[in-house]
Symmetry: C2
Subunit: 205 residues, 2 copies
DNA sequence: AGGTATACGTACCGATCGGTAACATTGTCA
DNA sequence: TGACAATGTTACCGATCGGTACGTATACCT
């Protein structure tokens, strides 16, 4: 989808909105390559080559490879909450159904060959240093996920909402990881079912 | 298939004579560095420097960096099942208590600063290629984990043992990942409690 | 048209990557 | 003491890493 609505490609550089065409191509290619093969595994040379541009173009739009990786994750973040909000919007006022819809979708996505899990999670694994630009974006995304899940656990009427919210997060992260570990037929396809069992067991009686 | 290797190094052929002393130092250092900072992030130069040896020594004991990484994971595998078997041995004939003990231990391990999760999981994230030597070890470890968890779910008398076993695996992987994502106070500390809730909800009534 | 700001390309940098050749030194055990 | 395997030493390889100096083309605004 051409989601080119006000993508901020400038990296807090101060110089106002100048949208170079090359920057979008670079970010699109970097997105694909970083996600599928990993950030550390991809060099800037391959990115510019596949994008049909040259290296100076990359460094005019992005201060560094690390910041390009952070931009990739910011884009990923946008699309992530889009998917999340779709599941929420599909079941207004019914958080349990929202969770189930979101997890069913995740479970389905994991059941394709060469599934690569969550770009946020993967980036955090690649960069243990908490101060790395990519990891900063990743951690913020996960904090927000935790916040939402706990809030939904409250809305579901859980006995211990924080525990249930965290339990759902563990199942989700487990699905991302085991999806790329096991491939088709892996445990991730059972994520929605297990989440529903866990929810049922966590509600006030 | 790899074409013929000209070197006839019999890999770990168990010739019972003296194992090289440098190899152990190298593997110990590589273990620590690979686990804490990631395999791709560590160069062979840093390994030999910290080990107090030289690069040729590394390549006399290990055919390549990739194989050194695989050796690291094989060592990790050994210690992993040691921990697992300890939890099992602590509660003979009581698979539910075994799981609880194992997960309590995981939950506790995740609650230290700079926790880095599971070396197997991390390696798989770093190397999406299924043919990579490190990933081969990692995937075998995870397959075995899945097998054991499903078997324990059977022993627990679950209504749907495969689903419960997979649910436990999702929680475990989620704990590994969120442990390194959130640090202290993260969702991973709730893994044992959520697992127990899930087990309770999955037993035959 | 002309000037000017902006985007882009060519060519290059030093550092580091994984890995090796050739030879000197050590430790061990018969 | 001799033999032999393990390790150290030094220097090197081609490839790739992230990043840049500097000149050229293109678009826009009078």
């Amino acid at each position: 989808m051409p989601t080119d609505k006000n993508i901020d490609l400038t990296i807090s550089d101060g110089h106002a909105s100048a949208p170079p065409k090359a920057a979008k191509k670079i970010l699109d290619v970097a997105y694909d390559l970083f996600y599928r093969r990993g950030i550390r595994a991809i060099g800037v040379d391959e990115i510019v080559k596949r994008a049909g541009v040259t290296k100076p173009s990359l460094y005019r739009s992005f201060p560094s490879k690390d910041e390009l990786a952070a931009s990739y994750l910011r884009q990923y973040d946008l699309e992530y909450w889009e998917r999340f909000d779709e599941a929420v919007a599909a079941h207004p006022g019914d958080p349990r159904a929202q969770i189930k819809a979101f997890l069913t979708r995740i479970g389905k996505r994991t059941q394709v060959a060469d599934y690569r899990g969550c770009g946020m999670t993967n980036a955090a694994v690649e960069y243990p240093d908490h101060s790395h630009p990519a990891r900063v974006v990743s951690e913020a995304n996960k904090q927000e996920l935790r916040r939402r899940l706990r809030a939904m656990a409250v809305a579901m009427g859980a006995q211990d909402p924080d525990t249930l919210g965290d339990g759902l997060l563990l199942l989700i992260e487990g699905a991302y990881i085991s999806g790329q570990l096991f491939g088709l037929g892996g445990p991730a396809k059972a994520v929605a079912r297990n989440a529903d069992l866990l929810i049922e067991a966590s509600l006030k009686k």
